[in-house]
């Protein structure tokens, strides 16, 4: 029987979902010994010997979270830092709208990718809860709720940007990305809504039970802001880039598909080409040029050097080019730009 094992896993439902899973593993006789960003290392133990709780520390500054972790250790628990954010870059900084004081900014190295603390206790029959006081739980769950919504909001913002891309470029790739981001966003939204329900029931309890009210007024607006701000910022930044015509690299807005080649850019100099294999027969190339300024040349050449089309300094226009092929040929489409602002679309069958 194996003594150790490594499991790949990531929990969007990072509080309840993760805690439940760790406890299931412990019940089966697997004790956590180490966790990576996407991995958990386990060691054999007696089934049900340990139990786990996941605590949220992403609102604390790194100094405070370390102090808290040391306190938990002094209480006789074993603790592990665990990430919500996944990444490899040192020197990153992230803003956390739910943070307290210095905890609003997470850095790597530092508190970034140490958003959670997994706490292990030797099972002793008594309930294992880290937050037992109404005031304390309510304050914490509100922060967790905001965090879930913020992560969901960020992904919805990505999805929105990709949707704009889809509409502008008439291609499916960004749409697939948008669906993926939207789906991932929902994976955070669902536990967010569950936490929201928990907050509501604790609030009802706070009406009649002892409760040391911290300021609560801003909470609803904070919750909405968590979703709205990333969406708004992203669309503003995106819109600004699109409208201002800041030179954007060719790749950013280029779309290649088996039957079309689109590109739009602020300003571009250089050349690009792609090869298209077509069978014998007559083929129609639908070409759309958008020239705001600068020069754009386009040529379509056969494998043996036959020039099927050549246009220089093309103005804004839409036209068709017919190509008759006696046999299967590999055509080269080449675009040359000199300080060209605008874009082009080439479509064929």
């Amino acid at each position: 029987m194996t003594k150790r094992k490594r499991v790949f896993r990531y929990f969007f439902d990072f509080m309840d979902g993760q805690e439940k899973w760790l406890n299931e593993m412990a019940a089966k006789g697997w004790r956590l010994v180490k966790c990576g960003q996407l991995t958990y290392h386990f060691e054999r133990c007696a089934p049900g010997e340990y139990e786990y709780a996941v605590d949220f520390v992403a609102h604390k500054s790194f100094a405070k979270s370390k102090d808290y972790k040391a306190f938990l250790e002094s209480m006789g628990y074993k603790t592990f830092y665990k990430n919500i954010n996944v990444g490899i870059f040192f020197g990153s900084v992230k803003w956390r709208p739910w943070g307290e004081g210095a905890g609003q900014f997470a850095t790597a190295p530092g508190s970034l990718r140490k958003e959670l603390v997994i706490v292990e206790k030797k099972k002793d029959g008594k309930p294992f809860e880290l937050h037992t006081d109404l005031t304390d739980s309510l304050t914490l769950y509100r922060k967790i709720r905001t965090a879930y919504f913020w992560y969901a909001g960020c992904l919805f913002a990505f999805a929105l940007m990709l949707l704009i891309d889809t509409v502008q470029m008439h291609t499916v790739y960004p749409a697939l990305g948008a669906i993926l981001c939207g789906a991932l966003g929902c994976l955070w939204l669902i536990p967010g809504l569950k936490t929201s329900r928990k907050v509501r029931s604790l609030k009802e309890e706070a009406e009649t039970n002892e409760y040391d009210a911290p300021s609560t007024k801003k909470n609803i607006s904070k919750m909405i802001a968590a979703i709205a701000i990333p969406v708004l910022l992203a669309s503003l930044a995106y819109g600004a880039v699109k409208i201002s015509g800041v030179p954007v690299t060719m790749g950013r807005n280029e779309s290649k598909w088996f039957n079309h080649w689109h590109a739009s850019y602020g300003e571009w100099s250089g050349h690009k080409q792609r090869r298209v294999t077509l069978h014998e027969g007559t083929h129609t190339f639908e070409i759309e040029i958008n020239t705001k300024s600068g020069e754009l040349d386009l040529s379509i050449t056969g494998q043996d050097g036959t020039e099927y089309y050549k246009g220089s300094k093309l103005p804004t226009s839409t036209f068709e080019v017919q190509v008759d092929l006696a046999a299967k040929d590999k055509l080269t489409l080449r675009v040359d730009a000199k300080g060209h602002k605008g874009g082009f679309k080439i479509k064929w069958e």
Binding site: L72, S74, M75, K126, P127, L130, T132, D133, D136
Partner: protein, 113 residues
């Protein structure tokens, strides 16, 4: 300062706050506080470590408790003790609870009012 006065005048401490204050009449560390509270309430109140950490820090900030002595070498257990201000608060709470107890006994216990 007005915050403190509110608390002195305002009354009702949360159960967690009051129990932590009581547990530091003799210097005590985190784990000891948790044990004390569990024993003193016959297991009715099982304080979560996260909640206890929050309570200790709030009480330190309000100066109702203070760090006691130095940390034992080779151990990371910090010890805390109630301050004079803390004792004042606790006495006030005792009086308030006494009053409430008297009232409740008269009504629930059916004593003539």
């Amino acid at each position: 300062m007005s915050h403190l006065r509110d608390n002195i005048a305002g009354g009702a401490l949360t159960e967690t706050t009051f129990l932590v204050l009581l547990s530091t009449y003799t210097p005590n560390h985190g784990y000891g506080i948790m044990q004390f509270i569990e024993r003193a309430t016959n297991g009715r109140v099982l304080l979560g470590a996260g909640t206890l950490y929050g309570a200790i820090n709030t009480l330190l900030k309000k100066k109702w408790i203070a760090p006691f002595g130095s940390v034992e070498p080779g151990s990371n257990k910090k010890t805390y003790v109630i301050t004079d201000l803390g004792k004042q608060i606790a006495e006030k709470e005792l009086n308030r609870l006494g009053e409430l107890y008297g009232l409740a006994s008269r009504i629930i216990g059916g004593e003539p009012q």
